[in-house]
């Protein structure tokens, strides 16, 4: 039986336009993209095995890492390869597939996760494009093939602003979720933890620890949950997956690389809701006639950790949301002192704390300029971990490996410190600093 964990620290950022529980559109023929840059630990120039003009089916391999050729990265849809886009220094930026709309699947064969050996199961997942679903902590890299993780964690809810309701997203997944968890159980020597949010009915999954979490953001971040269930110590390796990818795993072992999922659309849009599509979908179709204006930022992922990909971009591999925000590129007369519009803030120097449920119209303005660290207690107020974020970031800035390790760099990834970055009055780019620190340790540690 799982545990019930109530977190108090944190801060919910409430934004106008949270996704309504309705389907705006279903899968249509459009472009899909797979970006090697979404996968941490993948070398920048993977071996691309398709060329422009090739017809692929969903589940056909697109590319693999030259360092770890066993891990295949598969196409989420059937259709034609229309472009292999290159970025800096010839790195592969993305591979674009024009879906034919028929969605034909390569027959993967099937495997029974309960009876197959771990070895066979791993081989099946590697060959069929399922391995990249597994992300390994520390550092959020694509899982090592030879490692057996201490535990596997799946968060069943998302507390970030404009987040999709994951319970709604997997409502119609039927038995695939349970099958997916069967796969996970085979892969770890420890436990599989499925962490559900407040008010979520816990499915009965035999052999899976179903924990119940509650609390403000970042309670839904799997990193925070790991910290409270079985924290990552030096030398530990744990894996995490998105819950919609667990469903996809369940389908894959039945024979199809079917990544169908719901992507939420929210923020400064006329109509918020969900779009039923596959991994890497084009955003243009989702936002057609749905934008309020031109001066907006279209983000794949959340307003705290997503990527601004633009209205003609694609949803990232691990992201389940499209967030649209007004750009904040306007001056505001005495805006720092007398705000001309309400804005979310942890600080009670704004009147917002009197109306905790108010939703805000936000924009991308930094609301101030970058400064040295001055304020101190704030970060601990919003981070429900036994960890000192400012001291950790400083240890990264002065490059002290022992200190980074001691202060818990193995326990966090960028999204876990995003809420600290949001509240920081000195506008410190915390996620960027953390990413640099993790990079340095991976290279030299």
């Amino acid at each position: 039986m799982g545990r019930t964990i109530k977190l108090k620290k944190g801060f919910d950022i409430k934004i106008v336009g949270s996704p309504k529980e309705e389907i705006l559109s279903n899968f249509t023929s459009s472009t899909f993209s797979v970006k090697p840059t979404d996968f941490k630990g993948l070398s920048p120039i993977p071996k691309v095995v398709v060329t422009v003009g090739d017809e692929v089916k969903a589940g056909d391999t697109l590319f693999f890492d030259k360092k770890r050729p066993e891990i295949k990265y598969a196409s989420p849809v059937s259709g034609e390869i229309v472009e292999v886009r290159r970025g800096d220094r010839r790195a592969i930026a993305e591979i674009l597939i024009l879906a034919d709309g028929k969605q034909e699947y390569r027959d993967l064969g099937s495997i029974n996760p309960s009876t197959a050996s771990r070895e066979d199961l791993v081989k099946f997942l590697l060959d069929n494009g399922c391995w990249p679903f597994f992300r390994q902590r520390p550092f959020n890299v694509i899982a090592e093939i030879d490692e057996i993780p201490k535990n596997i964690f799946v968060s069943g809810f998302d507390t970030s602003p404009l987040a999709p309701n994951l319970a709604f997203a997997i409502k119609e997944s039927g038995n695939d979720l349970a099958t997916g968890f069967e796969v996970l159980k085979k892969l770890t020597s420890g436990k599989v933890h499925y962490n559900t949010g407040p008010g979520q009915s816990a499915p009965s999954l035999s052999g899976v620890e179903v924990n119940s979490f509650s609390g403000p953001h970042p309670a839904g971040n799997v990193g925070i949950q790991i910290h409270h269930i079985d924290p990552i110590n030096k030398g530990d390796i744990v894996w995490t997956l998105n819950v919609q990818d667990v469903v996809a795993l369940g389908r894959a072992v039945g024979g199809r690389f079917n990544t169908e999922r719901l992507i939420s659309v929210g923020g400064a849009v006329k109509q918020s809701g969900y779009v039923r599509t596959y991994i890497g979908a084009s955003i243009a179709g989702m936002l057609k006639d749905n934008l309020n204006g031109d001066n907006v930022r279209v983000i794949s992922g959340s307003a705290l950790s997503g990527n601004g990909v633009g209205a003609d971009g694609h949803v990232g591999y691990f992201q389940n949301a499209v967030s649209v925000l007004d750009e904040g590129n306007q001056y505001e007369l005495f805006g720092w002192l007398f705000p001309s519009y309400a804005r979310p803030s942890l600080s009670r120097s704004f009147s917002g704390f009197l109306r905790p449920n108010k939703e805000y119209k936000v924009n991308t303005n930094t609301n101030g300029e970058p400064r040295a660290f001055v304020n101190t207690g704030l970060y601990q107020r919003v981070l429900p971990m036994d960890l000192y974020p400012m001291q950790l970031l400083k240890s990264i800035l002065y490059n002290d490996f022992d200190q980074m390790e001691g202060l818990g760099i193995y326990e966090v990834v960028e999204e876990d410190l995003a809420i600290c970055e949001f509240v920081c009055p000195s506008k410190t780019r915390m996620q960027e600093i953390l990413a640099e620190g993790m990079e340095t340790i991976m290279e030299q540690g």
């Binding site: 705290l304 990527n307 904040g328 120097s349 303005n365 400064r371």
Partner: protein, 414 residues
């Protein structure tokens, strides 16, 4: 408003090549307008909290305003009362306030001109924006000066504090010692003969040039009243204990602040309201404030109970120091305990930065402050030295807290 915007854009175009002019322009520009900067498109948050450092610092300044207004009135009240004029609290309310305001304004102007001037120059040299830290220091420095402080002394003290205390270490956020206290301690130690004794806490004979010009203040030649001493409660307590204090001031006078002292420190309710504002807004640490109150209580109580023993057996004094016997709870209303607690000890840059550290830091200040105040015959107020002392220790305290976090993390793995 578009006119102002256009003018600013035109000026920016003109000054952008001169770094000194541009820094100055930028500081004024960002004061008038919240910049149009947007978050980066990737690698960080897209939305930011409405709070920034400017607003944080400004709120601290706002929290000091009651103490400032009362302080101005009190300068006038003390001045007139000393000369035997308008001794009632309600008499000449406006005249006293005007007198105090004109006495105070030059101090504020000088502290800010000198401090901000140095900040602007250093910011331009470094190619940084002007940081907001001095907004608070520029208000604190005048508030902790004695009313009769000469302006040149304010200028030199401010320059010393900002250059040596802050810019030498890299600017706002990097200073190990509290800037305002550094200015105060400079005045105290550099000019011991000018700024000591009982004569500096009340503006006596010579009001400053503005007041002279306007004809405010007691007429020249008006003698001080016989009973006037100008001594602060602490000076009285050091000489003769609590009964000596009561011979001059009542408890309620000390609480409400109609007594001589540094400009901002006397009115306890005004300061407590400011402190509550800061706690309510989540800007200053309630942990530091509360633990400082506890620390002072513990030390005060210890001295009450063991006064005889400590004086005679340990310090080899001929008899018990009467200051030891001042009831511990009266320590709060004498001198600048609350002011130091609300605005000095809580400075986030120089205080301990971890929550556990803040408890220890505040408690230590409380203990040390009482020790300096009571046991040190040279200087009857302890908070300035206690806070500076604990500023130095804050990184060490934090280091222990951090090390214990690291140990906890290591132990977990076994």
């Amino acid at each position: 408003m578009q006119f102002l915007r256009n003018q600013l854009d035109a000026i920016e175009e003109k000054v952008k090549d001169n770094k000194y002019l541009h820094t100055t322009f930028d500081a004024i520009h960002t004061f008038l307008y919240k910049p149009n900067h947007v978050s980066k498109a990737s690698g960080g948050v897209h939305i930011h909290d409405g709070m920034d450092l400017k607003r944080t610092m400004f709120m601290v300044v706002v929290a000091m305003q009651l103490a400032l207004v009362f302080g101005m009135w009190n300068i006038g009240h003390q001045h007139y009362a000393a000369h035997g004029m308008m001794q009632g609290l309600g008499e000449g309310l406006f005249t006293k306030f005007l007198f105090g305001m004109f006495q105070m304004l030059p101090i504020i102007v000088v502290a800010n001109l000198v401090g901000l001037g140095i900040e602007f120059i250093f910011a331009a040299k470094r190619g940084h924006a002007v940081e907001e830290g001095f907004l608070v220091s520029g208000m604190l420095i005048p508030l902790i000066m004695p009313p009769a402080v000469p302006l040149w002394m304010v200028a030199i003290a401010t320059a010393f504090a900002v250059i040596i205390g802050k810019e030498a270490f890299g600017g706002t956020g990097m200073n190990p010692l509290n800037i305002a206290l550094l200015a105060r301690v400079f005045v105290f130690f550099a000019y011991p003969t000018e700024i000591s004794g009982d004569s500096v806490w009340v503006v006596e004979n010579a009001p400053n040039f503005i007041n002279s010009m306007l004809g405010l203040g007691a007429p020249a030649g008006q003698a001080l009243v016989d009973s006037f001493s100008g001594a602060t409660p602490l000076a009285l307590a050091a000489k003769g204990g609590w009964s000596n204090v009561l011979s001059q001031y009542t408890v309620s006078e000390m609480f409400w602040g109609t007594i001589p002292g540094s400009i901002g420190e006397t009115c306890k309710p005004a300061i407590i309201i400011g402190a509550l504002m800061l706690i309510g807004m989540g800007i200053a640490s309630w942990r530091i404030m509360l633990s400082m109150i506890i620390g002072a209580a513990v030390m005060g109580l210890l001295l009450n109970l063991g006064g005889e023993f400590i004086s005679v057996s340990m310090l080899k004094l001929p008899e018990a120091n009467p200051f030891f016997a001042v009831p511990w709870y009266y320590h709060y209303i004498m001198g600048s305990f609350f002011f130091a607690m609300a605005f000095m000890a809580t400075d986030p840059v120089t205080a301990a930065q971890t929550n556990t550290g803040k408890w220890i830091y505040g408690f230590l200040i409380g203990v040390c402050g009482i020790i300096v105040r009571v046991m040190n015959p040279a200087y009857p107020e302890g908070w300035m030295l206690a806070i500076l002392f604990c500023n130095v220790f804050a990184p060490l305290i934090d280091n222990y807290v951090i090390q214990s976090n690291i140990k906890r993390r290591l132990a977990r793995g076994h």
